[in-house]
């Protein structure tokens, strides 16, 4: 039990990941699916950055030069997550563009209806 209390960031991130995954799987509406993807991605970023966090240290922004390296948290995960965010944004933009085109063709955003229409055609 104390494991969960100790690093609640990781636990929170995993729960969020589960939430995102479930919304992605269950909802047939495309927009909801894309929201699910975003939740999942943010959960991963939270998990990754919380790995770099060291208690009682501050953000790695060098304001005055006196501070040595050991009173900053580990900057590597946050640097990596910058790229992760960019990747997540691009995928979402691409998915949204596609949903708009799909809406124009099938004028519904719900995947089940689209499947029904495809069966008839």
């Amino acid at each position: 039990m104390e494991f969960i209390i100790e690093n609640y960031y990781e636990v929170g991130a995993v729960i969020l990941f589960g939430v995102g995954f479930v919304t992605l799987m269950l909802h047939s509406n495309l927009i909801k699916k894309i929201i699910g993807i975003n939740i999942m991605d943010t959960a991963i970023f939270l998990f990754f950055i919380s790995k770099g966090y060291i208690l009682g240290k501050e953000a790695p922004i060098v304001t005055e030069l006196s501070k040595t390296a050991d009173n900053y948290i580990n900057p590597v995960p946050s640097a990596l997550m910058l790229t992760g965010i960019v990747v997540a944004v691009t995928t979402t933009a691409f998915a949204l563009g596609l949903t708009i085109k799909l809406y124009k063709h099938y004028n519904t955003v719900d995947l089940e209806e689209i499947l029904k229409i495809r069966e008839e055609s």
Partner: protein, 483 residues
């Protein structure tokens, strides 16, 4: 200077793909993409010679220490793979010059070549990179460019297929990123070789964390490489994409993710550790299910491209089966099958593209009596089908042969039944096409001999692919001892 080749390869492709954005005229665009691809092909041959002479090549970009900087690890496997991939992409490009006009609208052709170059750059990136996060970024780039390639045709079913593909692969890359986060949390490194050292010493006390990592990696990369239960996006994506794109997709893109899985399983977790986790039996199960059900589903397909797409799901089953065996020779055969299958599948897809273009219908029934109209093309299709079915001397047979030998080594003899059963199933869906194409009177009357002939110039890339396939079959022993 030589050891810089992997970096130059990728840089070359990226820069060329971006310069194409500026130049909009098709003539120059085609010419430039040809040069860039040719240059990369020649460079990777140099790389192969270099690696064969003095072993694997480690190239540290950025910081000299391997801790943080991007590191390229080019062993014999990677070098051979990059040569084969660039060769196949060159042939696909050559093929696309003559056939792209009638599939995509004029304005989009330059986009096609940008995406093809980007795709090849990211594929080579995933093959070379020895750094987990770096390969994750390359995987994302390759997924997005693959989605771009599918959407270029801009018809109704294309969009639906792309949406499905995009969502499935975002789930996949999400799982992979989560796995990388877990690995980072346990080992603190991102470089595969340094992770390996940490894991060997300390994997006992992180037992279920390692299991989670393996599970996430297998499922994540499984979705992206269309392993059996997670393959539902593949048939729509591959059958609706333009022919060169679907050839590149099914021959190259799904292979790279499985190679990434091999790197993760066998280079990050070495052979001894990996075998006492149950993940190997799950992979073996996935592989064998893929082999059987992939072929069964392919039998019931009505459209040619969907059938060939399902048969690549079955062939992916072979590769995953090879990995699941968990021995060095098992992985060697998996990589050999990747090469053999890449060449065979791309030639089959290109030929089916030609069939559809000439008979202007996707259905298999309309292919009756095609043998009289396009005898050479169907001849090449037959050779490809023979390799798939496993006639000796061709690569298909050789990988089936070695797979069953490793099965006996590992002591799982009944699994050979699955391999042979699935090659029998292959016969069931490849041979009707050939038989109805060449023989049977009611198929043939009303067809003028060689009326829909494809002029040799367009058939040349497919011809070279088939010759490469036979060569791969011939030099199989040297290739396999290499890995």
């Amino acid at each position: 200077m030589i050891e810089l080749i992997p970096f130059i390869n990728i840089l070359f492709l990226i820069i060329f793909s971006f310069t194409i954005i500026i130049i909009k005229k098709d003539k120059i665009v085609k010419f430039m993409s040809l040069i860039s691809n040719l240059a990369v092909f020649i460079l990777s041959i140099f790389l192969l010679i270099q690696v064969l002479d003095n072993g694997t090549l480690l190239l540290n970009l950025g910081k000299s220490s391997s801790l943080l900087g991007i590191q390229f690890y080019v062993g014999p496997m990677e070098a051979v793979l990059s040569v084969v991939f660039t060769f196949v992409m060159l042939m696909i490009l050559w093929f696309s010059y003559s056939s792209i006009e009638n599939e995509i609208s004029k304005s989009r052709i330059s986009f096609f070549y940008i995406l093809i170059n980007l795709l090849l750059a990211s594929l080579l990136g995933v093959i070379y990179s020895n750094d987990l996060f770096n390969s994750y970024v390359f995987i994302e780039v390759s997924t997005l460019s693959a989605c771009g390639l599918i959407i270029l045709k801009d018809k109704k079913e294309n969009i639906k297929a792309t949406i499905k593909y995009l969502i499935m692969s975002t789930i996949g890359s999400g799982l992979v990123l989560m796995a990388i986060a877990y690995v980072y949390s346990i080992t603190g490194h991102l470089n595969i070789s340094s992770i390996n050292e940490v894991i060997i010493s300390s994997y006992q006390n992180h037992n279920n964390a390692v299991l989670i990592i393996l599970g996430l990696f297998t499922v994540g990369l499984g979705i992206k490489s269309a392993v059996f239960p997670l393959h539902s996006w593949l048939p729509d994506a591959h059958s609706s994409a333009p022919t060169p794109a679907s050839a590149a997709l099914s021959a190259l893109v799904i292979k790279v993710y499985v190679f990434m899985l091999i790197k993760v399983l066998f280079r990050m977790f070495s052979y001894e550790i990996i075998n006492d986790f149950i993940i190997m039996d799950i992979i073996l199960l996935l592989g064998s299910m893929g082999m059987i059900f992939g072929s069964i589903m392919a039998i019931f397909q009505k459209e040619l491209k969907r059938m060939v797409a399902y048969s690549s799901v079955a062939q992916m089953g072979y590769i995953v089966f090879g990995i699941g065996l968990g021995t060095v020779s098992g992985t060697a055969i998996a990589v050999y099958h990747i090469i053999g299958h890449a060449v065979t599948k791309s030639s089959l897809f290109l030929i089916s593209g030609l069939f559809i273009e000439k008979t202007s219908s996707k259905k298999i029934e309309d292919l009756k009596g095609i043998g009289k109209e396009m005898p050479i093309t169907l001849g090449l299709f037959t050779i490809g089908a023979f390799s798939m079915v496993g006639i000796p001397i061709l690569p298909g047979f050789i990988s089936k042969w070695y797979l069953s030998l490793t099965c006996i080594e590992v002591g799982r003899v009944p699994l050979i039944l699955i391999i042979l059963a699935s090659s029998l199933l292959n016969v069931l869906y490849y041979f009707p096409i050939i038989i109805n194409g060449y023989f049977g009177n009611e198929n043939l009357e009303g067809k003028i001999y060689k009326s829909k002939k494809i002029e040799l110039k367009r058939l040349m890339p497919v011809f070279l692919l088939v010759i490469a396939m036979i060569l791969i079959g011939a030099f199989s022993s040297r290739l396999i001892d290499l890995f």
